[in-house]
Subunit: 424 residues, 2 copies
C-alpha cells in the first residue's frame, strides 16, 4: 500500500495509517461491484489508496476502518450524522421500534407523531410527505409544482445538485435528452441572470428550486447575496411560480430550527429535507404549504419503504436530542473552532487555501489547484494521520465533535499543510 | 366507526374489530399529511373504515393495530416481509450491525460480504449495485441500457408498474410529457404485439423491461406464455437490445433461488430486486452481466443511504434464513393450502371469484365486480374478523404463515364469502 513516505521523501510522519485490509477488500469488491465502490463513497472520489475503503464501526465523531485505524470523521456519512455516530438516544429509539417491528403493511403509529411534531415545529409548513432518498422528495416537489401550476418549466442554479433522478443527475449519461427538458438555469448569486431566466420563460415557470447556499463539489461555497434571494423570491411570486428549497444537505446545520431558509429570510412553498433528519436512518421529507395540499394528495406517489417506522422513530429521537442537547450550538462552536484553527494553521504553514462556507459545512480548496493535486495530497496526509478531510466535497460537523477532536484535527491539518507546501 | 353490522343487517358476526383509535389517528393525520396516509398504505386504497390505519407492532404472520386488534396479514408489508415480521435471526443481524453503526462515510465491511454472496449465488449475474427504492434500480437499469446501446427506446408491457420515477409513475401527474417519451408498449402475453413493437422501433430499442408475471393492480395475475417470452427474448437478442427483468415484487417468492426469471427460462442482462431482500430493511439491488460492467461503472449514481450497512446485514441474514429454514418451500406450502382453501370456501359459499397467480402471490377478484364493490366488502368483512386480504392488490405469503394461520384465514374467508353472497 502506498503511504505518505512515498510521496514526501524526507518528511518524518507522526503517524502513518496502514490500509492493507481496506484495499485487499477493495480489490475483491472490484470483481462484484462496478468500480468496487460507486458514487461519492468510492475512495476514487476522495483520495485512492489513502482513504479507507471499508468501515468496521463508528462512535461519536469517529469511524474505525477494517484495518483498525480510527479517524476523526468530518464527513459524517456525507451529512446524515448530525448528532454523532451511534447516538445513545437515537439508537435506543431504533432498538425500541425494531422490537415492535420496523415496517408494516400499514404505517406505524410513529408516523402520526412524527408528522405532527414536524408540522408543529415549523409554522411555515402545513403538511409533510415522506421518502427514502433526497431525490424522492426533490422530484416529488417538481411534480407538485407542475401539477399545481399547470406549467412545466423548472428553474435551477447552474451546477446545483438536486439528486440522481434522470432530470437532475450530473452528466445525464443514459438519460434521453428529452427527459431533461423543461428546465432552465440561472447563475448563483447573479440577480440579473434570475431576471433574465424568468423573462425568457415568461408564463411557463412552474417553480424555481434553490439550495440555501451554493455547495457544488470542487467549488468554493457561496452564501446567497440578499439581492439574489430577493430576485428569486420576488420573481417567483410575481410569476405565480412556486419556490422550492432543497435543504437536503444543509438542513439542521444552518439554523437552530433545522430549516435553513429561515436564516436567509426565504419564504418557500415547498422544502425538501433528507440526510440529517434520521442521523443515519434513511428518511427524506417534503414539507409544504396549505395551498398545495390538494395537489399533493392527488399525485400517485408510493414506495415500499416510505412509511417504514424505524427511521421515523429515529427522526423523533433526533429532534428531541437536537433541541435538548444544544446540538446546533455545539456544531456551531466546533465548526467555528475548526475554521479558526484551519485558517491559522494554513497561515503558519504558508499554505494558500480558501476555507469557505458556514462553520458547520465548510469546504477547503487550495489556490491554483484546478486538478485538486494539492487538495488530494492534503486529504491523503490527513487520513494517514487519522482525520477525514474531503478534498472536493464540503465537510460536515456534528454535535459530537469535541474541542479535543478539533484541536487534534487542527494539529494534523498544520502538519499536512506543511507537507503540501514542501511537496509543491 | 362503521362496522360490518351496518352493512349486513341480520348477519351474526363471529367477531367485529373496533377501529376507534385507528380512525381518530387518521383524522389527525389528515391535518398533517396530504390524504392522511398516501399511496398504497392508505386505507382508501383498500377498504376505508374497515382496514386498520396504523399499526403498533408485528410478529411472525401477524400485525397488531393501535386499537389492539390482531390480524393475520397476507400483505407482508406489500412484499418485503418474506420470513415473517421480526424474524429472530434478521433482527439479531440488525441489532449487531446497529451496535457497530448503521451508516458510515465509507461503506461498511458488510457491503463486500453481501456483494460476494449475491454474485456467488446467481451464476447469471456478475456484479451488483445497491439502492433504496425499487425505482432506484429500475431507473438505473434503463440508464445502463441506454448508455450501453446508445439507443433510447424502452419497451414495456402496457399497464405494468416499474416504479414511481417520472418516466414510469402511473398517471404521470406533474410530469412533463417529454419526460415520459422514448417508451413504447406491447401487450402482455401477446407475442404478436411484441413483434410489432420491435418492428416499429427498429434500430432504436435500448431495452425491454418485463416483470416475470403480470401483477397489475385490479387485474387477474397472468403467468407468461412460453410463446410470449420467446418473442421477447428472441427479438431483444436479435435487436442487440437488453432484457431487463423487474423482479422487485416477485423476487424470492417464485423460485427457490430467489430469482424469478429462472422459473420461466428467461436470460436477462439486468435484474432488479427490492422488497423481500431485506425482510423490511430498505434495500434494492441491480444485478448485471459482465458485458455491462464498464457502462455501469461510468454512470453517475450515488445516494446518501445506498451503502447503509444495516439493510445489508439484514439481507445476509435473510439469505441464510431463506436457504436454511426452507422458507421458499414453507411459503409454497402455505400458499397452496390457502389457494385450495379459498377456492373451496368460495365454492361452498356460492361466491363467483377468480383466485389467480402463483401460490405465494395470489390475487382475488370477484366476477362482475368492476368497481370492486364485492371485493371491498369481502376484504372489509375479513379485516373485521382479523385477516388482511387486499381487495385490489396481489397478496403476499411469507414463510411465517403456519397451517393454523391458513386454516383460520380460510374459515374467515368462507364466512365473508357467505356475507358477500347474501349482500349482493
Amino acid at each position: 500500500m502506498r503511504h505518505a513516505g512515498d510521496r514526501y521523501a524526507g518528511c518524518t510522519l507522526s503517524h502513518v495509517t496502514v490500509l492493507t485490509e481496506s484495499y485487499e477488500m477493495f480489490a475483491r469488491a472490484e470483481r462484484v461491484i462496478p468500480g468496487g465502490i460507486f458514487g461519492t463513497r468510492s475512495p476514487r472520489f476522495s483520495s485512492f489508496g489513502d482513504f479507507p475503503a471499508f468501515i468496521r464501526s463508528a462512535r461519536g465523531s469517529r469511524i474505525t476502518d477494517v484495518d483498525g485505524n480510527e479517524y476523526i470523521d468530518f464527513m459524517c456519512g456525507f451529512g446524515p450524522i448530525v448528532l454523532g455516530y451511534n447516538h445513545l438516544a437515537v439508537q435506543e429509539a431504533v432498538r425500541g421500534q425494531e422490537e415492535r417491528g420496523g415496517s408494516f403493511t400499514f404505517p406505524g403509529d410513529v408516523t402520526l407523531e412524527l408528522a405532527e411534531t414536524l408540522v408543529a415545529r415549523w409554522d411555515w409548513g402545513d403538511w409533510v410527505m415522506f421518502g427514502k432518498n433526497g431525490s424522492d422528495v426533490t422530484t416529488l416537489s417538481t411534480r407538485i409544482a407542475r401539477a399545481h401550476t399547470g406549467r412545466m418549466k423548472l428553474l435551477v442554479a447552474a451546477g446545483a445538485y438536486h439528486g440522481f433522478d434522470p432530470w437532475s443527475v450530473p452528466g445525464g449519461q443514459g438519460v434521453p435528452p428529452a427527459h431533461r427538458s423543461e428546465r432552465d438555469e440561472f447563475t448563483w448569486n447573479d440577480a440579473g441572470s434570475v431576471h433574465a431566466c424568468f423573462d425568457r420563460n415568461e408564463g411557463d415557470v412552474a417553480a424555481v428550486m434553490l439550495c440555501p447556499i451554493r455547495h457544488d463539489a470542487m467549488h468554493d461555497i457561496e452564501l446567497p447575496a440578499a439581492e439574489f434571494l430577493a430576485a428569486v423570491q420576488q420573481r417567483a411570486e410575481a410569476a405565480g411560480a412556486l419556490l422550492i428549497v432543497d435543504d437536503i444537505r444543509c438542513g439542521f446545520r444552518l439554523h437552530p430550527s433545522g430549516a435553513s431558509h429561515l436564516r436567509f429570510g426565504l419564504r418557500p412553498d415547498l422544502v425538501c429535507f433528507g440526510k440529517a433528519i434520521g442521523n443515519g436512518q434513511p428518511l427524506s421529507l417534503l414539507v409544504g404549504k396549505e395551498a398545495l395540499r390538494a395537489t399533493a394528495q392527488s399525485l400517485y406517489y408510493t414506495g415500499t419503504h416510505f412509511f417504514a417506522a424505524t427511521p421515523m422513530a429515529a427522526a423523533l429521537a433526533v429532534l428531541r436530542a437536537y433541541d435538548g442537547e444544544g446540538a446546533y450550538e455545539a456544531m456551531q462552536s466546533a465548526g467555528a473552532m475548526l475554521r479558526d484553527g484551519i485558517l491559522a494553521a494554513a497561515r503558519r504553514a504558508g499554505a494558500c487555501v480558501r476555507f469557505t462556507g458556514p462553520a458547520t459545512m465548510p469546504n477547503l480548496l487550495f489556490d491554483d489547484d484546478p486538478k485538486l493535486k494539492r487538495g488530494r495530497a492534503f486529504a491523503a496526509a490527513a487520513a494517514q494521520r487519522g482525520v477525514i478531510f474531503h478534498p472536493r466535497h464540503n465537510w460536515f460537523l456534528s454535535s459530537a465533535h469535541t474541542p479535543e477532536d478539533i484541536a487534534q484535527a487542527v494539529a494534523v491539518a498544520e502538519e499536512c499543510f506543511r507537507l503540501v507546501v514542501a511537496g509543491t
